[in-house]
Symmetry: C2
Subunit: 139 residues, 2 copies
């Protein structure tokens, strides 16, 4: 898994270093969770205490450029990152903060109408839609 990703990295002309392997391992272990650069650093350091926060940022940039991961900039909070394989979207409740993961398919009809009406090929890596969840909207 991680080795496959590293191969893809190399194929895109980048080097496979310890830091990059470590970051990918943490991301794979996290499943489809979203990790901030800071949290990622904390976890990477469990095994590699010397790896620096700035390296994590540069690594994330390299991995994103190679198309292996996607940054998910939330409003305010620090940007989080997840593997490209786990593309999904979010519904976030503005009252309680609950988040619902949504499959890419929820955007199917939106994409269709953007294409039909504007010739726009939507390729949303990550989308956050705000609103109120079932329990908060009941209140």
């Amino acid at each position: 898994m991680v080795e496959d990703l590293l191969d893809e990295l190399r194929r895109s002309g980048q080097r496979a270093t310890t830091a990059r392997r470590a970051v990918l391992e943490v991301l794979v272990a996290a499943g489809d969770g979203h990790l901030s650069a800071d949290e990622l650093t904390r976890r990477v350091r469990a095994d590699h205490p010397a790896i620096h926060l700035s390296t994590i940022y540069r690594t994330l940039e390299a991995l994103a450029e190679a198309g292996l991961l996607t940054p998910a900039p939330f409003a305010d909070q620090p940007t989080t990152y997840h593997l490209r394989a786990d593309v999904h979207h979010h519904a976030v409740c503005t009252d309680c903060g609950a988040t619902i993961n949504l499959p890419p398919s929820v955007l199917a009809s939106l994409r269709r109408s953007l294409l039909a009406d504007h010739g726009f090929h939507a390729d949303p890596h990550h989308l956050t839609i705000t609103g109120r969840c079932r329990s908060c909207s009941g209140a």
Copy 2:
């Protein structure tokens, strides 16, 4: 127009000050354009040179709380703001940077399915969807 908005501000328990009037004037004059705090300050200062950037931020916070405007956090770039009356969404081309304004109605079916499937009442103040515009996707 601006006076109506100021009334609404007062009704929500906030004070109608010079700074707030000035910000509203600039926003109204900007139409549905999106202005960053910095750009807003530049424009406000044309008439009121003493108004400070931090006041603009506090003003924006007050106006947002009163429901008069909406912050639109773009990826990376500084957050921009527009009047609540001009709610709309964006499609941004990742190649050329072109942006298309979209009416709220483009989200109708998405909202319907979120409600049906998750009991989630979507109320997106602002959404940015990435992809490639007609001309760039042709290339």
